[in-house]
């Protein structure tokens, strides 16, 4: 059996293995729109840099999706620009979520926006970082109604404080909860722990050590 650990990660993960000409024609038809479209990652990047200069940074293209980050104070300005610009037109908020990186001092919480330009069919990922001590981020509910619950969910699980949100309260967890459970300081229970008396559930514990099953 050959070992096929993936070594390289190009943008195309689901490539066309079959060389059937009919399929190739089909593929050409489907990608024709992409080739005609003027909007590509390079154009987006240039327009963003022309507008915001070196405040937008860390441009990457993991698996073909343009990703960049900016200071958190600028999130609303950048999203507004992406929304209004007649060439960019990123008017659909696909997803909004947060990620916790406890190791990065001063930028522990990342808020990630996934945007979609439905006219040219281009996707974009935009990140901002906030310190966990004061995770204040401007809300984007004025731009997208859909951000309302997504921001509530993000607040519920990570404690990101969306400044200006019309109704920032917990949504999936109980209102009385006093912590933010998706942060990394709340690990899932280790399945191999032995400090609990779980003998009745088939796991270790003092009773097992005494030989009582």
């Amino acid at each position: 059996m050959s070992e096929t650990q993936p070594k390289e990660h190009s943008g195309e993960a689901s490539g066309i293995g079959n060389q059937d000409p009919a399929l190739q024609r089909g593929k050409a038809r489907w990608t024709a729109g992409e080739q005609q479209g003027l909007l590509n990652n390079q154009t987006i990047k240039e327009r963003l840099i022309a507008k915001f200069g070196d405040q937008v940074a860390h441009f990457e293209e993991p698996y073909g999706m343009l990703t960049f980050e900016a200071p958190r104070e600028l999130n609303l300005k950048i999203l507004q620009f992406l929304f209004d610009d007649e060439q960019l037109r990123f008017q659909f908020l696909t997803d909004l979520c947060a990620v916790h990186y406890p190791g990065q001092a001063g930028r522990e919480l990342a808020v990630v926006y996934h945007l979609h330009n439905l006219v040219d069919n281009v996707r974009l990922r935009f990140k901002i970082y906030a310190p966990i001590a004061q995770p204040d981020v401007f809300t984007v509910t004025a731009l997208y109604e859909s951000a309302n619950w997504m921001e509530r969910e993000t607040f519920d699980f990570f404690g990101v404080n969306f400044v200006g949100h019309p109704n920032l309260k917990r949504i999936l967890n109980v209102d009385e909860m006093e912590y933010f459970p998706m942060r990394k300081e709340f690990p899932m229970e280790d399945q191999t722990r032995i400090d609990k008396d779980d003998a009745m559930f088939g796991r270790g514990g003092p009773r097992n050590e005494e030989g009582i099953q």
Binding site: T94, L118, S146, F186, M188
Partner: protein, 408 residues
């Protein structure tokens, strides 16, 4: 003794002229555990406030401790009316991250399964719209064919509702002849059933008067509210992930995207019905394509990815390498490459997205599900403002709200 000692009423409640009605969390008409607090003026809805989260199970947190193949069972429980789509979406996400290329036959088999689940999803949603408008017949009639779809699942993976179907790279086993026979049976019999289902509803005067104009939304508002799937298409936007970002070789199939215009319950109903016809077209094409594979190609049902695809049981017992891979996969000892990937599929009720961040460990560093109905349920209060109480029920069922997906 003054009255305050006995009755503690909220301020302003004496002068209040509206009625508060709790619709849910456990109400037969909500078809799932979620609550609506309606403020009623007579029978008119003044405002609605939605509450979700009653069956939140912390899937995203659990996923941070699980190896990739164990997360498939979590995706089953998102939109449980079409769990195979969720399963395939998750496998596609993993394959994108790991760089696994799936053979064409696997793609086509997946397309068959995904379209079957789309039909079963739309079938339930549309017939429940019928039930909520007082027409029970359609629901009972089509249930027989959802049963047939579940039997097809059963032939393929052994389970019916929470399917846990497939593996990273393909399927756990090849489709049996019985499965293909059942798919043929479905293709032969279902068009007549769907036609009759449409005859029951489409021009039914009572149904039309109940649904036309109920819960309408404009295309612009729908996009702003993050609508996707049939609900967005009913508002007139032809956005479909299968066409815009083809996955699993959807680019090889001919089909159209039905769109509505007003975004009301009737349009949503019609769009779903039309999508079922399109799904049938796709299944037919995919079935033909699968039948064209001959010889050794006809036995291909998974990609060659030994580090992630469980080897056959026979090999595990007889070959050392297979045993080692089996052990490594089952114990979750295969590290996944670092990376960041977003993959979406056209789920039963919209764009189901998986945002996966890996730091090179054995389980995802972060996994986020983009659950379509969590996002579009926000629009409910706008959809029902000023409507009748009975419309509130029908709008809810025609949005295809699945509590499991909303709460994750």
């Amino acid at each position: 003794m003054s009255i305050e000692h006995h009755i503690k009423l909220p301020e302003g409640s004496i002068e209040k002229t509206t009625t508060t009605l709790n619709l849910g969390p456990t109400h037969p008409a909500t078809h799932g555990v979620f609550q609506n607090i309606l403020e009623l003026d007579g029978e008119r809805i003044v405002s609605a406030e939605q509450t979700v989260g009653y069956i939140h199970r912390a899937f995203e947190k659990i996923a941070e401790r699980r190896p990739l193949y164990q997360i498939t069972t979590l995706t089953d429980r998102l939109n449980y009316c079409s769990s195979p789509i969720n399963n395939m979406g998750w496998h596609l996400t993993c394959e994108k991250l790991l760089g696994v290329k799936t053979p064409k036959r696997v793609d086509y088999l997946r397309v068959i399964i995904m379209e079957l689940s789309r039909i079963s999803d739309h079938l339930i949603c549309n017939s429940v719209v019928g039930v909520d408008s007082g027409a029970f017949t359609g629901f009972l009639y089509v249930m027989q064919y959802r049963e047939l779809i579940y039997e097809i699942y059963e032939e393929i993976c052994g389970s019916r509702l929470t399917t846990n179907m497939g593996r990273i790279g393909g399927f756990e086993r090849n489709f049996t002849n019985a499965a293909f026979e059942k798919i043929e049976k479905f293709l032969a019999e279902y068009p007549a059933v769907l036609k009759e289902f449409e005859n029951l509803f489409n021009r039914n005067r009572i149904f039309m008067e109940r649904t036309i104009g109920a819960g309408p939304i404009s295309a612009e508002r729908a996009l702003n509210y993050g609508f996707t799937g049939p609900n967005l298409r009913a508002a007139g936007v032809d956005y479909d992930v299968r066409v815009h970002t083809p996955y699993s070789s959807y680019e090889d199939f001919e089909f159209t995207i039905p769109v509505g215009s007003t975004g009301d319950c009737y349009d949503r109903f019609l769009v779903r019905n039309q999508e079922m016809w399109q799904s049938l077209r796709i299944i037919e094409q995919a079935y033909r394509k699968v039948q064209e594979f001959k010889g050794a190609d006809a036995d291909v049902y998974h990609a060659d990815a030994p580090a992630y695809y469980l080897p056959e049981k026979k090999d595990v017992y007889t070959k050392m390498e297979a045993l080692i891979w089996h052990f490594k996969i089952v114990m979750g000892e295969t590290d996944i490459p670092p990376g960041e990937v977003y993959q979406s599929v056209e789920g039963g009720n919209g764009e189901l997205g998986f945002y996966l961040i890996s730091d090179g460990g054995r389980s995802p560093y972060r996994l986020h599900f983009r659950r379509p109905c969590f996002i579009y349920y926000q629009a409910y209060s706008e959809l029902t403002k000023g409507a009748m109480l009975s419309d509130a029920i029908i709008v809810m069922s025609s949005l295809n709200l699945i509590a499991g997906e909303m709460d994750a």
